[in-house]
Every structure is written in C-alpha cells, then in structure tokens.
Subunit: 536 residues, 2 copies
Amino acid sequence: MTTPHALDGVTVEIYDTTLRDGAQQEGMNLTVADKMAIAPLLDELGVAVIEGGWPGAIPKDTEFFGRVSKELELPRAQVAAFGATRKAGARVHDDVQVRALLDSEAPIVTLVAKSDVRHVERALRTTAEENLAMITDTVRYLREAGRRVIVDAEHFFDGYRFDRDYALGAVDAAFAAGASDVVLCDTNGGMLPEWVHAIVSDVAARAGGTLGIHAHNDSGCAVANSVAAVVAGARHVQGTINGYGERTGNADLLAVVANLELKLGARCLAPGALAESTRIAHAVSEVTNIPPYGRQPYIGASAFAHKAGLHASAIKVDPDMYQHIDPTLVGNDMRMLVSDMAGRASIELKGRELGFDLAGQPELLTRVVDRVKNAEAQGYTFDAADASFALMLREEIDGARPAFFRVESWRASVNYSERVGGDGESEATVKLHAGGERVVRTGEGNGPVNALDHALREALVGVYPEIESFELVDFRVRLLDTSHGTDAVTRVLIETTNGSEVWSTVGVGANILEASYEALVDAIVYGLVAGGVEVR
Amino acid sequence: MTTPHALDGVTVEIYDTTLRDGAQQEGMNLTVADKMAIAPLLDELGVAVIEGGWPGAIPKDTEFFGRVSKELELPRAQVAAFGATRKAGARVHDDVQVRALLDSEAPIVTLVAKSDVRHVERALRTTAEENLAMITDTVRYLREAGRRVIVDAEHFFDGYRFDRDYALGAVDAAFAAGASDVVLCDTNGGMLPEWVHAIVSDVAARAGGTLGIHAHNDSGCAVANSVAAVVAGARHVQGTINGYGERTGNADLLAVVANLELKLGARCLAPGALAESTRIAHAVSEVTNIPPYGRQPYIGASAFAHKAGLHASAIKVDPDMYQHIDPTLVGNDMRMLVSDMAGRASIELKGRELGFDLAGQPELLTRVVDRVKNAEAQGYTFDAADASFALMLREEIDGARPAFFRVESWRASVNYSERVGGDGESEATVKLHAGGERVVRTGEGNGPVNALDHALREALVGVYPEIESFELVDFRVRLLDTSHGTDAVTRVLIETTNGSEVWSTVGVGANILEASYEALVDAIVYGLVAGGVEVR
C-alpha cells in the first residue's frame, strides 16, 4: 500500500473551477463582482490555475475575462477560459464559440471534449471520427494561437468502461494535437476510488502527457477519487472551494489538497498557504452567500469540535489522541462544545478556552452543566453562541451578570398603512435605566429587529460610547419546531463585531422579536465585558 | 480491479449508530422521544442493528432502553447497548457500568475497547496486558449472560500502524472470548481508502471472526473507507443516517449502502428498502431538527438537480446520460433548476415538470428567462420555490395572475409595553377586496408574521373556504447581505401544505415582514390555483 509521504517530492498542479463548474451549484448565483472578489482569494491560496468561466456562452463570464487582466493583480495563478471543441461539420476558424475563447485573452484554454462514444452519438449527434477531428482541430488551432490547452475528457470513466479504445483514442488525439494535460472527468460522479485508481493507472501507462482528474461527489467519493487518481499517476487536480458544484458538488479542492500534502507528502499550494485554507474557504462562502457547512472536512467549524465527555477527559491529556491532524495546519482550531452530553471535563476545557479556570470547582461545574441542560431543553444552543455561554458562566461565578443597564420595557411596530408597494415604517422604543438615569429612545429601521437594535444602541451609547464600535454582522433565524410553521419557537443567533473581534450570542422566544431582543442584549453586554468596561 | 457487481450475493450487516455516535454531532440534542421516533424509521429501512446509546452513562439512554422493548415494535432490527470494557484492576462482576449494560436487556452489547497501545497507556492509564484482560473478561462475562457481543476496536488503524502486533492482539482477544464481530474503528477519521483496504485485508487474512468497519469523515473519505473495507473482507458496517456525528461526522450509512448495493451488488437492507432511503433520511432530519444538506449524495434535494444549460439540452434526450444512477432507486427525483444559468431547455423541462408545455414558444421562454434573471438579481431564488416560479410562468402565459383578491393595505405591530418578561402582543390588520367585497380583518399571533398569516386567512376564508386546509409547515429566513447585519435584504422561503401536497414560495423585502407578506400571498394564490378554485 501507499505509505504516508509516498508522494514526497511530487508536485501536483491545482486547478480551481469554483467560478465555472462550482457556479453550477443549486442556489448559487455569482455576479461578476463576486468572481472578481473570489479570484484574489484563490490566488492567495496559490492554486496554479483559476478557471473563470465560459466566455461567449455566458455574458457575465465574457465581462469577467474582459476585466480580470486589467483590474486584478494575480501574482501566482493563471486564468483559464472554459469552452467546447468546434461544432461538428464546421471549420474551427469559423466557430464563434472558439473565437470567443481567443478573444478572452486567457493564457490557458480548457476544452471540454467528448470521450464517451455514446455521448458523441446521442448528445453531439455526430460520428465517432468527427468528434476526434473536432478535438484535433480545436486543440491545434488554439495551440497555434499560442495558448496552453487543457482538455477535459467529459464522461471519461463511463466512456472507458463502455469502449476503452475510443476513450483512449480521444486522449491520444488531444495529446497529439498539443494539449498539455488531458483531464479524466467523472462527470456523473459515480466512480469508486479503486475503479479510478485502476483506470488512471491504465491510461497513465500509455498516455503521451500529463493526466488530470475532475471528480464529482455523487457517490460520496469525490475526495477519495481525486486522491486515488494522483496516487495512480495524475498530476493535475480540478475541484472547487467548499466542494461547490452541480448536484452533490465537485471534489472539495481543499480537502483533496490537505490529504495530498499532509498525508501523502505531495506539493500542491504555495508554501504555507494550506494554513490559510480555513480562512479563505470561509471568505469565499461570504461572497457566494452560501452558509458554510459545519461538518466540512478540515475547514468546517465543527471539524475539530469535540463534544463527547468520553473524549474530553482524554483530550485534556493529549489533543492529538483525538485529532487526525493538528488543526492549525489548515488554519482551523480545536473547539470544545458545550451541550448536555458534555461532562465536567468539556465544560472545564470550554471555560479555559474562554479564559475561566474552573479546575477544582466541582459544584460550579455541576451547576453550569445543569443550567446548560435546562437551557437546551428550552431551545437554546451554546455550540454556536460562545458569548452567551461565557455570560452564563460569569453569572454562575460572580452570582450575577454585570448590571450595565436595566430594561424597563420595549416595543416595536411595523406599519404598512400606505398602499401595498409603498415602504413600510418600522420603529422601536426602549425604556431603560443606565448610568443612574432613565433613558427613553426610539429607533427606526428597515425592519422591527433593525429598529430595536438601533433603539437599544441609542439608549445606551451616551453612557457607554464603546457601543459605537459594535456592529451586527450576522443574523440567523431558526424555527425550532417547523411542524407548527409560524407558531414555532424561534431561535436567533447573531454575530457582533467591534472591528477586531467577533462574538456570537443566542436568543430564544415565541417570536423573532422576543428572541432577537435577548440575543441583542447579550451581544451588547458581552461586548462591554470583553472590552473591560466598568458599570457606570 | 473490483468490477461492478463484484460483491453479488455478499450480505453485509448494517449497524446504525445514529442514536449513539450520531448524537455526538454539534448542535444535535436528541430527547428520548426523538430516539423513540427515529428507531422505527431505522427498522423500516431494515438495518440489522440499532445502537440505542450508553445505558448507565447517559440517563436518557438508560430510559430509552427501558422503554424501547416495551413500547416499540421493531420487527426487523435488534437493539444494541453501547458500553466500555471493565475498569482497569477491577473485577468485571463488580463493574457498575458493565452491569448497566446487562440491565438494559439489550440482546446485543457493543463494547468499545482500546487497540492502540498509546491510548491504553495515556488515556486508560493502564498496562498493555491489563487492557487485553479487560477485553477478555468483559466479553466473556457478557457472553455467559447470553448476549451477542460486538467489540469496537477504537483507534484500530492508528494503533495498527504504531504497533501492529498489539492491535492484532486486541482483535484476537475479543474473538477468543466470544465476540461475534470486531469492528475496526478509524476513530479520528484520518485514513485513506487504500490504507483501509490494505490493513483490513491483512487483518481479515488471520482474524477468527467477522470484521466490521466504523469510519469517520475527517479526511472526507468515510464513505470510500467503508466501501474499501467491505471490498477487503469486512461484512459489518457502522454508520449514521445523514452522516451525523462528532466533528465531520460518521460514515453516511445510506451512501455506503447505496454504493454497496447499486454499484457492487451486495445485499445490505431489506429488499426494496433502499428506495425509501430519501424519505427516511429526511424524516430523521425532521426529528433531529438539523436541516437536510442539499448536496448529500444520493438523498440530497440537489443530488439529482440539474442547472447547466449545457446538460439540460442533453437531458431532454436521455436523463441517464447525466446521472450515475436512476434516482428512483433511492427514492429521489431528478429536478431541473431554474436560474439565470438555465437556458431555454431547462426552463422548458421545468415547465413540463410543473405541467406547462412550453415547447415551440421561444418568445415566452425568452421572457421567462429574462424575468428569472432580473428576479435573481434582486435576491429571489426559484431553485427552492417552485410554486412562486409556477405563478410567474402562469402570469407570462396568461398575461396576469388570477385575481382572487386585491390587498389594499396591511400593517403589523408588536407590543412589549409591559415589563420585560411579560408576553408580547402581536397583531396584524389586512384590508383587501375579495368576492366583490371589501374585507378588513385583524389577526393576532405569537409574532408579527404569524399575526399577518392569520389576518390574511381570516380575511379570505369567507370567500375561499378552501384556505381552511392550508397550513404553513416551514418558514426559513435568510439575510442576503450579511455584511450589513439587520440592514440586509431579507429573503423568506415558506412551505405550505393542504394536507396532501406541499408547495414552496419565496418573498424578498427590506425586512422579514415585507418578505413574509409576499411569500404568504404567493402561497395562498398557488394553493387556490392548484386546487382548481375559480376567482369569486
């Protein structure tokens, strides 16, 4: 078997297709501005190639290529334009789609080509011979224009199984015409790793150039299939950040890279870049606006989060005993989760993480564990609300939370009393006591929660100017019992920042306003506590 | 290489640990009632064993075992109690934890045992020899009590690499004492498939009983590792529904099973049960209240969803050309997604899916594509809102949507004017025209959206009694630009049912109320249209 570091010294070219194949994902809709924001993040990772889209076929991709070379500094990565081989029965010089690839001025052109004869006949509706001619003509034409040409052999694995000779013939045609790489695509994502290993080994034994792998996750094996292909001889890997892509997605590029670099010793990204992968993957999801998947290997928020009491006690002895890698190698952190499964050990570790030394305070630990259990039964969750948990912990330690202010009452109202289509008016009024005075403030906003947020700040900022710097950066709403629709209990999780740190709080209530109120108050109190502000 | 159907005729025992190891997942908090609700679903799938929890260690697990045998009919599955080998230096007869396993009356006991000598010495803090004696004593004791005993060899793969002889010695001790299966656990989830294949092959060549595999997904290879182990000789697979579990989760049991049954020919579940897996996996997520992951292999909502215009045209020719399996084999469906990437082909297919024949109406198709692009630019998404898309399509076809009613104005207000802690009052007033009359109704609710929902229904039910049967079953809120916190544009997706069908609608607005209003109105209009109701 391949041993750890079996690929020491091997270099693998990383080809990112987040902006093209990744954008096929359900619910994803990348603007040109989004693509312009993501490309520098990919370059920072040190991927060798950034596939930007299909100029000519998709207008905003044409615009992207027009802007990228002028507006972006990409010191490490080259940009690739994706397109197809020439039309059947036509001359490549007359093919407008091929022309658009040249016009994009991308130094690399990646051509999708058929290698499964069934697709040639039923989707392209042309002959096996003509398809090979289309590959030869288009690759040669683009090479003569001075471009590096990569050929994506679509449906290669299915095609190889159905007609090995034809699939191999397509690979040979591409290399013969001057392609630098032929990428074997598991377009339907149905392969298993040992199949990929066997087929890539067979092709590598006779291929006239560098082979690549392009995997999809339909069998749940995209990462494993990509690694298996490299072990079998592929030296070019295509994938997407966060595994974005149509259906079940493409291979999660950063998981593939982490496996290749950390477990097999290959070189993929710029030196040190892997340690930026968690930050960059999350930055990309900020742009795509697709919530990060907590269980994502290596870079997920939960990837190194430990909950089991069983493990927690051992983790105190040695974290490496329960982690497959050191999380800092991918820029992630170990986290202890607080839940009713947590024993004292994990609460103690969580406390330490938050700066409380609870060692040797068994009664306190017991009280906190009980309180967590009760709160979770009501719908709270502290897994994703460290700040609310820290306030609870402090309350148990000090007997009370710092009394920065006391709210007497509040209300919020929304009025769409104008004709429908007109703007609604939202306002909230808060009556509270702070700095020895009674303050009444009314805030407006583009919604009741926003208005309430404004009213609270305006009522407090006079006494606590520190609040000026607090900003609400994320706001998530969850119905805890969807079987009752809008009657359900509402949980709100919010993230607040003061510019340097970010903290998360939770609120639960009969409706979004009640829950939001609680989370907003926790956010302000925690921000003041963390800032070392005294009660005034 | 293993060819498709290489495991024809091979039977693999499926061991579900959703209720035990799966419950370690971040954000998951299963009550006894939750476990009682999930167990019958697992039995319906035909898993051989349902691991219920750790009686004695976790109170609610003790309660679960007390209730399951009395209250549940499980015709297919046997229940297993999870626990640990006896304490070091103690007699097994005196071990309360082991006693609790017998008291659970579970016919199967699964013992976690150390097989990595480093964990023996540093976590258990005992000697290599004593650990083997702990395995021998505990297995023998439980066997003498008439239980089937499965041994989970924790950290087996890491242990094998560090000290092969000791790891194998632990396996031998378990079999010698009467264990029916020894499950090789990749506890830290760091293995790669070829490593698993090589190690399991080595163990299988000398083991005295059935081997199992227990994989975690930290390398993104849990599914592939599980399949590799079976190919190498394991005949027992542990995993969880939806891949729930600590950190990155356990092996996604249904993806492993689908690969084993559909791609390798093994027999795992009850005949025909695989076709229920999508429904059951989603039913389980209803209970766990963890939103389903759309990109989940085989059973995800996106698993067979096609967006690319490129593919859509070919899919019209033959769906199998772009799918690795027939989705109905796992109870899933092919879906066409509507987005600004969609060409006319996918809009046409989507229309057909919704019952509109758009073939040969190019102008209409162009209008719809343009409208979709504009709407998505404003924040709408139709991927998850078929009903709103259908209404838009109908509007383009008929020139207008059916005028069941016309809303003149509405407002909603929330009042927490009492002391904080008291209940808030939410109410909404709607003024609309329906059935030739002007109707003004005020609705109350436990929140402004709920009140608005009630006001709309109350204003319309007189003229359209069909609305009586509509119920809002899911309600999701998303901020589209989280960088501005509560200032962001809000998107609301709601699901409504009439008892038989479920439909989804979308609304976008400056705040949750404006967005909810739009989605609620769409939901009512679509329900009336789908019900064949005439404008009154």
